[in-house]
Amino acid sequence: SQKIEQNSEALNIQEGKTATLTCNYTNYSPAYLQWYRQDPGRGPVFLLLIRENEKEKRKERLKVTFDTTLKQSLFHITASQPADSATYLCALINQAGTALIFGKGTTLSVSS
């Protein structure tokens, strides 16, 4: 069956460091992958979308990579700040194109 795994439930880093979050998927070949941020008590907010023909995408302090051979995406936050503390979710359209499926998320805590 198709699976999305974010292999860290929690990540704690010091302010100013780079946070790297991982998303792995199995049993399908998505055309694109998305990353979202979710704060407690709120709905997810879209951050970045990367397509299968793009190796890397950047937006301000955010960088996403997409390796279709490894079936993996890495999400980086450089110069992290306490305000970056949140849960980060990756999401993929399923093979049939009928559902946007989310990983369970990684909760990032940035301490000052």
Partner: protein, 113 residues
């Protein structure tokens, strides 16, 4: 409206009652999604609409759950004979075409007592 709107924000209901949750997507968005998020858990996909059609209903947890969308706009998620296990935040999202970013509402927190 400017964003996805869900109502009510909070709903407390007695076990066995039916509830209706409403989602008003962003105008012009053809794709609409419903998710369930239990406390401390990830997003569980329930159903996807393209226009007024739901091509795949297999995400609905049981036959007590149903959803409809009319006018390629408002969607309603109905839960019949609610159970305590239905307690969760129900999130709705819309997207212009279904292959781009999804915009989420603030969710409906359902508590079954």
């Amino acid at each position: 409206g400017a964003g996805v709107s869900q109502s009510p924000s909070n709903k407390v209901t007695e076990k066995g009652k039916d509830v209706e949750l409403r989602c008003d997507p962003i105008s012009g968005h053809t794709a609409l999604y419903w998710y369930r998020q239990r406390l401390g858990q990830g997003l569980e996909f329930l159903i996807y609409f393209q226009g007024n059609s739901a091509p795949d209903k297999s995400g609905l947890p049981s036959d007590r759950f149903s959803a409809e969308r009319t006018g390629e706009s408002v969607s309603t998620l109905t839960i019949q004979r609610t159970q305590q296990e239905d307690s969760a935040v129900y999130l709705c999202a819309s997207s212009p075409f279904g292959d781009t970013e999804a915009f989420f509402g603030q969710g409906t927190r359902l508590t079954v007592v």
